[in-house]
Amino acid sequence: MRGQAADTAGMGYLESLPRRAVTLWLPLSAFLFVLLFPFYWMVITTLKPNEELLSREGNPFWVINPTLAHVKKLLFDTSYPDWLWNTMLVSVVATALSLFCSVLAAYSIERLRFRGARYVGMAIFLAYLVPPSILFIPLATMVFQFGLFDTRLALILTYPTFLIPFCTWLLMGYFKSIPYELEECALIDGATRLQILTRIVLPLAVPGLISAGIFAFTLSWNEFIYALTFISSSEVKTVPVGVITELVEGDVYHWGSLMAGALLGSLPVAVLYSFFVEYYVSGLTGAVKE
């Protein structure tokens, strides 16, 4: 695969340099510029004092007197730290819960091959195609009836509905690649299925677990509609919902702190992603290719 990837542009040498500049570097730089500009804009806006933000004079692409006032306001005058903590807590717990369920489910579907396993696998895939936008209304009534409204538990319990199908589907692919012989040897040596799962299959599927974990964490961190619907008190809100509902006061937009909120809320996932890019990409493409 790696060797192939290096050869894919095998005929690139046939193209002259100026031609390559027009067909490759020009469009690629345009893509990168457009894709990255909003992030640059977030940073610049965060650092700008209000006078510069609300002025049409001067060059908007640069900041003359950078200030951290917006970040300070965000961290000390709003519930932003609470929201960060909530998002972190909900994402970590929901991810752990989903991974636990998915590992067992994926192993069961892919390796125990019980009667009907194929259909359960299909059902899991279909479950992934059910979008939150058609579930949030009935879920809201359920959350209310269970007395979970306005609690973090409501989010921890509902996030797995989109995390488990994805993680299970991804892990099924990883488990498939582990040779049966390893398990058979262990079975002959008298290991139970649970021992096989924890001592043999899981250590071999660590890349898959990391992919699924990173993905689940990012999806939980980004979740919006459930958190918007099930939470109403400021101190239990997550970052995306808190920023949208609390930092916008009437018609006065505090662009500096809004942008600082968006930037700080994006950083954790961006940093995590930068450490695990390969796992993330393989998870993304693996799930699609199956």
Binding site: P38, R113, I137
Partner: protein
């Protein structure tokens, strides 16, 4: 007990239990409940009664609901086509021999990683009626003589939200298609080149047919998530101006949660299901068939 746990059927179901419980309780049940709610007149804080097709009949005569259906289709169609074309282009570019290829690939995916609600705030500011940086630049270049009202004019708002959606979706499609491109053997291109195929012909007759299966899957996902989009619209316009950007998802939120008419909102959400199924079947089987016609593997 020991014997029972050795049975793969028993053990299999036991392992499946935690996932199945969560999914049945919080996914399958609400899916049914949502459909049921669509046939009742439940309001927040008040139990409802079965009213048959009343909600759907009301929505079918409601200009705003019909507009939201139109908007949803328009949004999905335009955004998906743009995402596909640009995503494929970007994938082909990234598949060339490049220095820092891994870095480029990592950076390209950033818009997809970051929470949509938060990146939408950046777009909100970029689209600001008075301080938009796009307007500023175009003004300085002398291309326009007054600031563009990106989110204030109905059609402008539609295109602006689509642009933000495309911005977020292109990386996903590009990276997935890139993975597909990397599996195409270079020898095929060399053979085509020896037969005298031009660059475009190589792309049209080698790349596209071999890529079709993965395109089908990726676009199915993309259409699905675009059709049911919520966050972006909620943050950028809340459905305005004049309901011109309301999607079915945002309108059902407005009716059900903000307005309290749970039954009506649920009916609107349920009405998305047939469209979704149609979209899935169309993009999946439609493209699958093409793969088969063009000599691709029948999966």
């Amino acid at each position: 007990m020991e014997r029972l746990l050795d049975n793969r059927n028993v053990l299999g179901l036991l392992f499946l239990l935690p996932a199945a419980l969560l999914l049945l309780l919080f996914l399958t049940y609400p899916l049914g409940l949502g459909t049921w709610l669509g046939f009742t007149d439940v309001k927040i804080g008040r139990a409802g009664e079965f009213v048959g097709l009343d909600n759907f009949r009301f929505l079918a005569g409601d200009a705003v609901a019909l507009l939201s259906v139109f908007n949803t289709f328009f949004y999905t169609l335009v955004a998906s086509v743009l995402k596909f074309v640009l995503g494929l282009w970007l994938a082909v570019l990234l598949n060339e021999r490049l220095p820092f290829k891994a870095f480029f690939r990592a950076v390209v995916l950033l818009p997809f990683i970051v929470p949509t609600a938060l990146s939408a705030i950046a777009f909100w500011w970029i689209y600001d009626a008075q301080f938009s940086v796009i307007s500023w630049t175009l003004m300085k270049l002398g291309l326009i003589d007054r600031y563009i009202d990106f989110l204030g004019d109905p059609w402008m708002a539609r295109y602006s939200t689509i642009a933000a959606n495309v911005w977020r979706g292109v990386p996903f499609i590009a990276i997935c298609l890139l993975a597909g491109l990397q599996t195409i053997a270079p020898s095929l291109y060399e053979a085509a080149a020896l037969d005298g195929a031009s660059g475009w012909q190589r792309f049209r007759h080698v790349t596209l047919p071999l890529l079709t299966p993965i395109i089908a899957v990726v676009m199915t996902f993309s259409v699905l998530f675009t059709f049911t989009d919520f966050q972006l619209i909620y943050v950028l316009t809340r459905g305005g101006p004049l309901n011109s950007t309301h999607l079915m998802a945002t309108l059902s939120f407005q009716r059900a949660i903000s307005g309290g008419a749970l039954g009506e909102g649920a009916a609107l959400a349920t009405a998305m299901v047939p469209f979704l199924l149609a979209a899935i079947l169309f993009s999946y089987f439609g493209l699958q068939r093409r793969a088969w016609q063009q000599g691709g593997a029948d999966r």
